[in-house]
Symmetry: C2
Subunit: 144 residues, 2 copies
DNA sequence: CTAAGTGCAAACACTTTGCACTTAA
DNA sequence: TTAAGTGCAAAGTGTTTGCACTTAG
């Protein structure tokens, strides 16, 4: 959980101004556990800042990526999502309802081992499982 | 290694026509170990089929995805790449030179365990590690 | 006060689509 | 023979950029 104070402090320390739009965007992107899309963040932030633009949301997310506070999950079929869980973990992505949840956080050791074998310095990771979640599997026993 | 005969057979079994362009695209996409981009495949196929279009490459890659023979690796910063290794494995992605290599194929068990815990039916996965590869790390000990 | 950030609209890059022509089966 | 596929160019889509205005520090 990131408080506004923490957000402001983190931005300022890196030389970024803590504007009210930025704080609102960060607050939502960093505290949401649902891997929100840009549109979702935009819609949410618009409630308190009706004039905010999509461009500002995009720019702020780039700032957060630079600060290594969020990670992008780009998909072809669906919109890009943003994940503020920076620990090694598996994203479980349902191809039917689009929901993204977290799982398997004991994966850190395997990642570390593979990286050292490959003599590779890891700065980030994206570990996705695609398939059908339990509730979708029940609902419609059809294709994929 | 996919022979032309195997490719033709796989296409026909699913009701797709085995055109010469398609065979060439499949041959390259399925046998290349370098996780090629669309442009790369296009350039390569153009050598034997100078009139081939980008649209055909895109369409054929969608067919291959439908057949679960390749997987898309979408990135923001760089072009989408295609991976014909469908077994659970880690993609080691260098952020400096863009090279993508494979590692850690003992990851299958962890994936299976996490999926069963989440009661999730896995149909595909994307397990990427981002960072700096050994040779890039030596070359330029700077940012990132 | 002034460098950084905002918000609009225009520009981009990659991908998809519509359609007449071609071709595998 | 004919449904499926090709290749072009045009249309989309999500994202980025240029620039005058605004604002945090």
């Amino acid at each position: 959980m990131f408080s506004d104070a923490t957000i402001i402090e983190a931005l300022r320390r890196k030389g970024f101004k803590a504007t009210s739009q930025r704080i609102a965007i960060c607050r939502y992107a960093l505290n949401s556990r649902e891997h929100p899309t840009v549109q979702r963040i935009y819609t949410e932030v618009k409630k308190a800042h009706p004039t905010v633009s999509l461009a500002t949301v995009y720019k702020t997310l780039k700032v957060l990526m630079g600060l290594h506070l969020v990670q992008e999950l780009v998909f072809t079929e669906t919109e890009t999502r943003y994940d503020s869980n920076m620990e090694p973990h598996l994203n479980v992505v349902c191809l039917r309802c689009g929901k993204v949840s977290d799982a398997g956080d004991q994966i850190g050791k395997i990642v570390a081992k593979a990286a050292s074998t490959a003599r590779f310095t890891v700065t980030g990771q994206r570990l996705d499982l695609y398939g059908i979640c339990e509730s979708c599997g029940k609902k419609k026993p059809t294709v994929v």
